[in-house]
């Protein structure tokens, strides 16, 4: 009897539509985040992460309605990230039915924001997203990058994770910018070093191309949860198959 490791499918949503293509065999509308969330829930997803990439202010209203619609019929934890900049943004998403929000660049601009958010809403709903990229040097070292991995910040990823945990983050969502989109698997080294450095759960993200990558994230990276988008979207694997594979590698899963 033990806590299960989690599988978290991630949806990138722009103006209320899932982008990056979703291709289930019997889905009516491949861009509808509600239908896709329902599908992942049926497949046994442990949580759902919804990454809002809507650029316009007006589009935020659409995001709120989408979150409300998902929360009204999918009864597993829902995390919303993207565009969370102020306390009011967090309140809006939680009121819409999100269970957690993921904070990324706003934390870099103003680290105290994470502290205020955790004090106001509780650590359990504050996820800090870290986009880390390996930098050249004698020792392995990772730095936080912004703007989709283009802009270095000079911040050491491990020190940042520790600081964010101290500030009250309840969880770290760690994305390797070197691996994101490559399908080469997680950056297991940075996953391991950050998992060991903090006492809060770490979600590994970026680079999943097959089911064994998910298992490696837990077995070698030490991650508490694994996040993936494309391997599920394109119908290559169901969440259920991913869970069965991980269980067959000796990982505790909710089957």
């Amino acid at each position: 009897m033990a806590l299960a490791k989690r599988i978290i499918p991630c949806l990138d949503v722009d103006n209320g539509r899932v982008v990056k293509g979703v291709n289930f065999v019997d889905i009516r509308d491949a861009g509808d985040p509600v239908e896709i969330s329902r599908r992942y829930n049926e497949q046994g997803a442990d949580e759902i992460t919804f990454l809002d990439i809507t650029a316009t202010h007006e589009g935020r209203d659409t995001t709120v309605h989408t979150v409300e619609a998902i929360a009204a019929e999918v009864f597993i934890p829902l995390t919303v990230g993207g565009g969370i900049r102020k306390v009011e943004d967090i309140r809006e998403m939680l009121n819409a039915g999100a269970d957690k929000v993921s904070i990324n660049s706003a934390a870099i601009r103003e680290p105290e924001f994470v502290k205020r958010a955790a004090e106001r809403f509780g650590s359990q709903c504050i996820v800090v997203a870290i986009d880390a990229k390996r930098v050249e040097g004698d020792e392995p070292r990772w730095e936080i990058f912004t703007h989709g991995g283009r802009k270095p910040t000079g911040i050491d990823a491990v020190e940042w994770a520790v600081r964010m945990a101290d500030y009250g983050a309840g969880e770290i969502l760690l994305t390797s910018m070197d691996r994101d989109g490559t399908r080469d698997g997680f950056d297991l080294a940075v996953t391991r070093v950050i998992t060991d450095a903090v006492s809060i759960p770490v979600i590994a993200s970026g680079g999943v191309g097959n089911l064994e990558h998910l298992a490696e994230g837990v077995l070698e990276g030490g991650a508490d949860a694994v996040l993936a988008a494309s391997i599920f979207h394109f119908g290559e694997y169901t969440v259920q198959q991913a869970k069965e594979h991980m269980a067959s590698r000796g990982i505790e899963m909710r089957l």
Partner: protein
């Protein structure tokens, strides 16, 4: 017995949207989210939720007189009550959180911390909070467990856990490095550490059972 009106007691701590929509999803005819005694007085059953730090929860429970409300529904009106997460913890005598906080003492027991360097029996480090899907061993036959397989997984997120003094009240046990009380039951009260509203089919089944429970074990 029909589901009728369910009141979710709102003392300002956390988001009650999920609980309310899960209740509607499993057939609640009417869901009120309120701390108004007149509104709670109309309810046929009551949910007592809670998230966040216990000191803030207890302060708001007392300031809004939700403690009196709870006593009224539990001991005068005898309607079914379901405590969730910090709502369950606040029923106990005392919590170690925030340097020690006195709770409602409706159920004798202590709320304890998992610890900063929490480890399993093999010495492997366990993250705190205990976050995710863990199994619950049903230790009592109870109408709220009906149709839910023993050992089903529910979604937890907590750093503190209940340790009841009267072991006869323990309805479910969890294990996270240490065994803890995941559910307690006494008369018309049932309380759970996990979040049924976030626990997919198993959680929805428990909420459905609650809507059809007559308040007797």
């Amino acid at each position: 017995m029909t589901a009728g009106t369910v009141a979710v007691i709102d003392y300002g701590m956390g988001n009650l949207h999920s609980v309310a929509s899960a209740l509607k999803h499993v057939g609640a005819e009417r869901v009120l989210v309120s701390h108004d005694p007149a509104q709670i007085g109309e309810a046929d059953r009551v949910i007592f939720p809670g998230v966040g730090a216990i000191r803030d929860c207890m302060a708001e429970i007392r300031r809004l007189e939700c403690d009196k409300l709870l006593l009224d529904v539990l001991e005068s009106r005898h309607i079914p009550v379901l405590g969730i997460c910090v709502g369950m913890q606040s029923l106990l005598t005392h919590s170690e959180e925030n340097g020690g906080v006195d709770c409602l003492d409706l159920v004798q027991g202590e709320v304890r911390y998992f610890g900063d360097d929490h480890r399993d029996a093999d010495g492997a480090r366990l993250k705190v909070p205990h976050m995710g899907w863990n199994q619950v061993q049903q230790t009592l036959d109870h109408p709220l467990w009906q149709g839910i397989e023993n050992g089903s997984r529910f979604y937890f997120v907590h750093s503190y856990y209940a340790d009841c003094a009267d072991r006869a009240l323990v309805a479910g046990r969890g294990d996270y490095g240490v065994g803890f009380d995941a559910a307690i039951a006494r008369d018309n009260l049932f309380a759970v550490q996990f979040h049924p509203e976030k626990s997919s089919d198993a959680g929805l089944a428990l909420l459905h059972n609650f809507l059809h429970w007559n308040g007797q074990a």
